[in-house]
C-alpha cells in the first residue's frame, strides 16, 4: 500500500480523496494555486505544495509542476480527481515514468477512449451498440436509402460541422429532400464544405451511464447505472440511481454492454460508460467513456455500499477487487444535486463573491461533499460548483422528499445559487414521473424566480438592521427596554 498520495486537484474532490486516504492510513499532499492559498483542501491535507498562479494552465494543468511536487514531497502515487488532467493520457504516462503510480486506468486506455471517432470504431468492433448512422453519402437516393435503414426521425449533420449549424431534424421521409438541400446550403455557407452525414435522432433521449470497476488482474464488474438526464447547457445538475427508466432486463443488457466496452480497452480502476437511452424504443447506444472518477460517484457509493475512492487506491496498489457481479446489488435510492454559484434567472451565469453565510444541511441519509466554508471567496478562476448534496432513502419518493428537506436547510449568502431552481425541478410532475430527458430544461421547463419576496423576509431584514450590528456581531442590548438605544442602531438610518 502507498505511504503518501498527492492529490492533483482542488475543492470538494480533493477533500473527498484525502478523506479516503486518511481512512486508509495514507498521508496526503495537497497542491494549490495563488487563489487557493487558504482553501479548505489545503487546510485538510497533511502537507501542501504551491504549484503556480491562479489560472489553471499555470497550476492545476501544469503537469511538470505537479509531478515535481509529488517527487519533492516523496509521495508514491498521484490521484487526479476529475477534470483538469484526469483524462490526459500524457499526464498519466508522465506520472508512471517518474516512478509514481497513477491512480486510474493505463495511459493506453485513456488514449483509446479519448478519441471519439476511434472509440466508436472500437466499440462497434466489440459489439457495443453505437448511434446508427451513415457517412459518405452522395446522391439523394443514398440519403433516402440510409435514412430508411436507420429509421426516422433522423439527424442530418454537416460532416465538417459543429455548433448546430447545418443540422436538421427530419421526422418523415416526405421532408427529406427539402431538409437535405437546406442542410447542404447551410453547411456550405458555414464551413465551405457541403458534405453531410446522417444519424439516428433520439428525440427524448435520456443520459444513463454505468459505473465500471476493474482490477489489474483482469477482473471487471459494473456497479449499476446513474440516470443523469437533468441537464442545463449539456451539464448534469441532478443525478440518481437506480434510473426510473430501466427494467431489470435492460439493466442487465446495458451492464453487460458496459463491461464489454471497458474490456475492449483493457480497462482497470474506476470508469464510466455513458449511454444515450431512447425511452420510446427502450434502446441504448454507447456515447463515450469517462476514464476517471465521476462527479456523481457518491450516489453509486450509497446504492452499492462500496467506497469507490478506497477501491481506486487499493486497485492502483495492485489489490484484487474481491466482489463478483452476482454479489453486487443496489439498495434504496440515491440522488445528488449539484449546488452551483450561478444565477438560473440570468442564463446560469456564474456568481462570484464572498460566502457571507454558508450552512450545510445535516441529518440521516444526507451527505454534503464540498470545498467551501463561510468566509471563503468564490472566484471566477474555477468551476462554480459549491457543493454536492447527496441523499439516500428507502425509495425514490422518500429520497426526493429527503432532498427537498435538505435543500430547504441549505443556506448560502453572498453568491446566487441554483437551490430554488433545484426545488422547482424536484417538485415538477415530469421529474416525479421520471420523464425528464436531457433537453427538458431547455424545451419544457419554464422557471421564473418569485417576483415578490414574502412579508417574512422584510420582517427579518428590517429587524436584523436594528438588532444585529454588521453581519455577525452579538446583540449587546437585546434585553434593554429602550429599542432606540444607540447600541441597536449602528446603521445610519434615522426615524
Amino acid at each position: 500500500m502507498f505511504n503518501k498520495i498527492l492529490v492533483a486537484n482542488r475543492g470538494e474532490i480533493a477533500i473527498r480523496v484525502m478523506r479516503a486516504c486518511k481512512e486508509l492510513g495514507i498521508k496526503t499532499v495537497a497542491v494549490y494555486s495563488d487563489a487557493d492559498k487558504n482553501a479548505l483542501h489545503v487546510q485538510y491535507a497533511d502537507e501542501a505544495v504551491h504549484i503556480g498562479a491562479a489560472s489553471p494552465k499555470e497550476s492545476y494543468l501544469n503537469a511538470d509542476a505537479l509531478i515535481r511536487a509529488a517527487l519533492d514531497s516523496k509521495a508514491d502515487a498521484v490521484h487526479p480527481g476529475y477534470g483538469f488532467l484526469s483524462e490526459n493520457a500524457s499526464f498519466a504516462a508522465a506520472v508512471e515514468s517518474a516512478k509514481l503510480t497513477f491512480i486510474g486506468p493505463s495511459a493506453d486506455s485513456i488514449r483509446a477512449m479519448g478519441d471519439k471517432a476511434e472509440s466508436k470504431i472500437r466499440m462497434k468492433k466489440a459489439g457495443v451498440p453505437t448511434v446508427p448512422g451513415a457517412e459518405g453519402l452522395e446522391s439523394f437516393s443514398d440519403f433516402e436509402k440510409a435514412a430508411d435503414e436507420i429509421g426516422y426521425p433522423i439527424l442530418v449533420k454537416a460532416s465538417a460541422g459543429g455548433g448546430g449549424k447545418g443540422m436538421r431534424i427530419v421526422w418523415d421521409s416526405d421532408d427529406l429532400p427539402e431538409e437535405v438541400d437546406a442542410a447542404r446550403r447551410e453547411a456550405l455557407h458555414a464551413f465551405g464544405d457541403d458534405r453531410l452525414l446522417i444519424e439516428k435522432y433520439v428525440a427524448d433521449a435520456h443520459h444513463i451511464e454505468f459505473q465500471v470497476f476493474g482490477d489489474k488482474h483482469g477482473h471487471l464488474v459494473h456497479l449499476f447505472e446513474r440516470e443523469c438526464s437533468v441537464q442545463r447547457r449539456h451539464q448534469k445538475i441532478i443525478e440518481e440511481t437506480p434510473s426510473p427508466s430501466l427494467t431489470p432486463e435492460l439493466r442487465k443488457q446495458m451492464g453487460e454492454a458496459a463491461i464489454k466496452a471497458a474490456r475492449a480497452v483493457n480497462y482497470y480502476n474506476a470508469g464510466t460508460i455513458e449511454f444515450i437511452f431512447d425511452p420510446l424504443l427502450s434502446t441504448f447506444y454507447f456515447l463515450e467513456m469517462n476514464t476517471r472518477l465521476q462527479v456523481e460517484h457518491p450516489i453509486t457509493e450509497h446504492a452499492t455500499g462500496l467506497d469507490l475512492v478506497h477501491w481506486q487506491i487499493r486497485i492502483a496498489a495492485g489489490e484484487h477487487f474481491p466482489y463478483q457481479q452476482d454479489q453486487l446489488s443496489q439498495r434504496g435510492h440515491a440522488i445528488e444535486c449539484r449546488i452551483y454559484a450561478e444565477d438560473p434567472a440570468n442564463n446560469f451565469l456564474p456568481s462570484t463573491g464572498k460566502l457571507l453565510q454558508y450552512i450545510e444541511p445535516r441529518g440521516p441519509g444526507i451527505r454534503v461533499d464540498s470545498g467551501f466554508r463561510a468566509g471563503d471567496e468564490v472566484t471566477h478562476f474555477y468551476d462554480p460548483m459549491l457543493a454536492k448534496l447527496i441523499v439516500h432513502g428507502e425509495s425514490r419518493e422518500l429520497a426526493i422528499q429527503k432532498m427537498q428537506t435538505a435543500l430547504r436547510d441549505f443556506v448560502v449568502h453572498g453568491v446566487v445559487t441554483n437551490i430554488d431552481f433545484m426545488q422547482a425541478v424536484l417538485a415538477h410532475p415530469d421529474f416525479a414521473d421520471g420523464k425528464v430527458s436531457t433537453r427538458w430544461i431547455e424545451n419544457n421547463f419554464n422557471w421564473t424566480p418569485p417576483v415578490e419576496p414574502p412579508f417574512e423576509s422584510f420582517i427579518a431584514a428590517s429587524l436584523a438592521d436594528i438588532v444585529v450590528p454588521g453581519t455577525k456581531s452579538q446583540v449587546p442590548g437585546l434585553n434593554e427596554s429602550d429599542p432606540y438605544s444607540p447600541w441597536k442602531t449602528p446603521s445610519g438610518f434615522r426615524n
Partner: protein, 163 residues
C-alpha cells in the same frame, strides 16, 4: 421608525417586548427570541421562524422558509429636501472582473464623463466614468482588486446635492 428595502417601506413600532411590523396592509407582532451570527429566531404572531440575514453594503441576503432573497436597503438620507437621489453618484461594477486602473483619489474634483477607473472583465476593458461634475466622495476599491457585479466602486458627490 421606517426602513425601506427596494420600493417597500416597513414600519417598525416597538411595543412592550416585541415589535409591531407593518408593510402595506399587513401587520404582525414580532418577538425576537434570539439573534446571533446573522441568524434570527423570531416569533411572528406566535409562529416560530428562523431567518438568516447577511449584509453586504446596502444589500441584505435573507433566507426564510428555505428560500433566499436579496433586498436592497434604501439610503437613510431620504429626508433631505431637494429630491436629489443620494445614490445617483454611486458607481457599481456592471459585471464581475478586476480593477485594472484607478485614476482618481478621494477628494479629487472630476468632470462629467471623466474616466475614474478601468474594470477588466471577460477580456474587455470597461471605463467607469463620472456621471456628473463633482467630487470623489469615496473610493471603495483598489487597483488589482476583484469585484462582483453591482459592487460599489466609487461614489461621486454632485455639486448640487450637498448632504
Amino acid at each position: 421608525m421606517k426602513i425601506t428595502f427596494d420600493n417597500t417601506t416597513i414600519d417598525l413600532v416597538p411595543t412592550d417586548k416585541s415589535y409591531r411590523v407593518t408593510l402595506g396592509d399587513k401587520t404582525a407582532e414580532v418577538e425576537i427570541l434570539r439573534a446571533k451570527d446573522g441568524q434570527l429566531e423570531l416569533l411572528i404572531d406566535g409562529k416560530r421562524l428562523t431567518a438568516y440575514v447577511s449584509s453586504d453594503g446596502a444589500k441584505r441576503w435573507v433566507t426564510v422558509n428555505g428560500r433566499t432573497f436579496v433586498l436592497t436597503k434604501s439610503s437613510g438620507a431620504r429626508k433631505s429636501g431637494g429630491g436629489q437621489h443620494h445614490a445617483a453618484g454611486e458607481l457599481t461594477a456592471p459585471m464581475p472582473g478586476q480593477i485594472r486602473a484607478v485614476n482618481v483619489r478621494e477628494g479629487d474634483a472630476v468632470t462629467k464623463g471623466q474616466t475614474l477607473m478601468i474594470l477588466e472583465a471577460m477580456k474587455m476593458e470597461i471605463r467607469i466614468q463620472a456621471p456628473m461634475d463633482g467630487v470623489v466622495k469615496s473610493l471603495a476599491v483598489k487597483q488589482g482588486q476583484t469585484v462582483e457585479r453591482e459592487q460599489i466602486l466609487v461614489v461621486v458627490a454632485g455639486q448640487t446635492s450637498k448632504v
